[in-house]
């Protein structure tokens, strides 16, 4: 079988060859423990600090405020549990209905085990929260607002600046899960009033198992993982040096390529949608492309199930997703599509196509061709579709 054609960049991305090349020395000769006092340890420590600079640069913050973690989920759990642990009086958290499970499950944990009250702000059919809803939800007990920058399933972009300003006004910590935003849209923390932000390397052509938490100067939380006081004491454990180095290089590359990729991906998205609408009837977009990053296309194809469509495409050599990859093992229907008002049947008929830096026009054309073929075939099986 050929290498499959990949349309699931939101789930994860292949490692950029330049990233791997930069990582290799740290998987081979440069293996010193960064905490050790001799030269080969110093070398890995320096490499980590270089990566920290490149990542800080990507989001325009000071490098001393970036703390490496094992990924986006750890970064999210760290800040949510950290803020909660510090807050002995105020026990109210505001979040959105379309957050990643890394946020929602942690909120739920805090509700069940630490007496927090969680307000989940709904979204409109485009998948956007209304800042006024957040303002109305704020009480004297609110200690944290956590809203993602870009949604992983439908790509909707949230009004982060407005939410940040609101939180600033009310003196409430604002956390932003930017795992799906970084590398896809400009993320400039000089202009965004964000108190903490999560990132993950494997979504930006870096390795899996590394990410970071940015903490605004002055934000103080207890660490999630304690021990040898690595990461300025904020996150203990021997550093994933090669992973961190790879993350740094990936950050540099996505920063350089941001506008080029954005333009290219928007072109490819438009090409896909034009072809889709001419080739396949009764097929709808979930969310609103004008309110979303162009790399995420979530579509609903009536009369068939997304699962069988994705399976058939897989057999034909294409990777698409039926929900957020992270939650596809659970039997639940996408909470994001539910949140934008889709029925169970509509959700079951949906697939997510996500485009990335390596996607080509030819791949888009091939996808549409095979998508059409698969849809027609599955519809011909289906008692729910009259052709």
């Amino acid at each position: 079988m050929h290498t499959p054609i990949y349309f699931d960049y939101n789930a994860t991305t292949p490692i950029d060859p330049r990233v791997l090349e930069g990582m290799l020395p740290y998987l081979q000769n440069h293996f010193g423990n960064p905490s050790s006092t001799y030269s080969i340890g110093y070398r890995t420590k320096e490499a980590i600090e270089m990566a920290r600079k490149d990542i800080a640069n990507l989001i325009s913050v000071e490098d001393g405020n970036v703390f490496f973690t094992s990924g986006g989920s750890e970064a999210n759990s760290t800040i949510l549990k950290g803020i909660a642990a510090k807050s002995s009086k105020k026990k109210h958290i505001i979040t959105s209905s379309i957050e990643h499970p890394a946020i929602l499950k942690t909120c739920d944990y805090l509700r069940k085990h630490h007496g927090f009250q969680i307000t989940t702000i709904p979204v409109n059919p485009a998948g956007i929260v209304d800042v006024n809803d957040i303002e109305r939800a704020i009480t004297s007990q609110t200690v944290l607002v956590t809203v993602m920058m870009v949604n992983n399933e439908i790509g909707s972009i949230q009004p982060i600046k407005e939410i940040g300003n609101l939180c600033k006004k009310h003196n409430i910590h604002f956390h932003c899960d930017a795992v799906q935003a970084v590398g896809k849209i400009p993320v400039n923390l000089k202009e965004l009033p964000i108190d903490s932000l999560s990132m993950s390397a494997h979504k930006i052509y870096g390795p899996k198992g590394v990410g970071c938490l940015y903490l605004r100067e002055g934000v103080n939380i207890p660490p999630l993982i304690l021990g040898g006081s690595q990461e300025f004491g904020m996150r203990s454990g021997t550093e994933n040096v090669a992973g961190i180095v790879g993350f740094g290089i990936a950050a540099k590359i996505v920063q350089e390529d941001l506008y080029f990729n954005l333009t290219k991906i928007e072109y490819l998205r438009n090409l896909f949608l034009t072809n889709l609408h001419t080739e396949i009837e009764e097929c709808l977009i979930n969310g609103d492309i004008h309110a979303s990053v162009p790399s995420t296309i979530n579509i609903q194809i009536s009369g068939i199930r997304g699962e069988s469509l994705a399976s058939m495409l897989n057999e034909l050599g294409f990777c698409v997703s039926i929900a957020s990859a992270c939650s596809s093992t659970s039997s639940k229907l996408s909470h994001v599509l539910k949140a934008i008002g889709k029925t169970d049947e509509e959700i079951r008929s949906s697939i997510r196509i996500s485009i990335g830096a390596l996607t080509t026009e030819d791949e888009i054309n091939q996808l549409v061709r095979h998508l059409k073929q698969s849809v027609m075939r599955l519809r011909s099986f289906s008692p729910k579709y009259q052709m």
């Binding site: 399976s311 058939m312 039997s331 169970d344 049947e345 079951r348 599955l378 289906s382 008692p383 579709y385």
Partner: protein
């Protein structure tokens, strides 16, 4: 992922279609996931001589309908009655935990094939899915 049997039947389901002059029609919908099979049977002296179906569902349920359809041709209603869960499990091959409820769709089909009642669709509408269904 799918075992080879499921994969084969999903990509090339046997007996897909409708029988315009069916002796019986049966409608199955899986309470867990809402997958739906409409199956048409022709009988010749209490033995199933012809089968066709349409399936809306996941890959495994489409494959399951296909596998069942192949197996039951030539069987009497009594023989179908005697098919056990273990038989079905064997037909379908190794399943992942999340696919195991597909065995129920097969058993549902078999159960109705053994005791078919409806001559045609009372209402050619779709079953209602979701929270309230079943």
């Amino acid at each position: 992922m799918f075992n080879d049997i499921i994969c084969d039947h999903f990509m090339n389901p046997r007996n897909i279609g409708e029988l315009t002059d069916a002796d019986y029609v049966i409608e199955i919908s899986n309470p867990i996931c809402g997958d739906t099979v409409h199956m048409y049977l022709r009988l010749n002296q209490e033995v199933i001589s012809d089968v066709a179906y349409r399936a809306y569902g996941c890959s495994t349920s489409i494959a399951t309908a296909s596998i069942v359809s192949e197996k039951i041709v030539g069987m009497s209603k009594a023989e179908i009655s005697s098919i056990t869960r273990n038989n079905v499990v064997e037909w379908l091959g190794e399943l992942e935990p999340s696919q195991l409820h597909c065995v129920d769709i097969a058993l549902n089909i078999l159960n109705q094939c053994a005791n078919p009642t409806k001559k045609k669709f009372e209402q050619k509408e779709f079953l209602i899915e979701g929270e309230g269904a079943f």
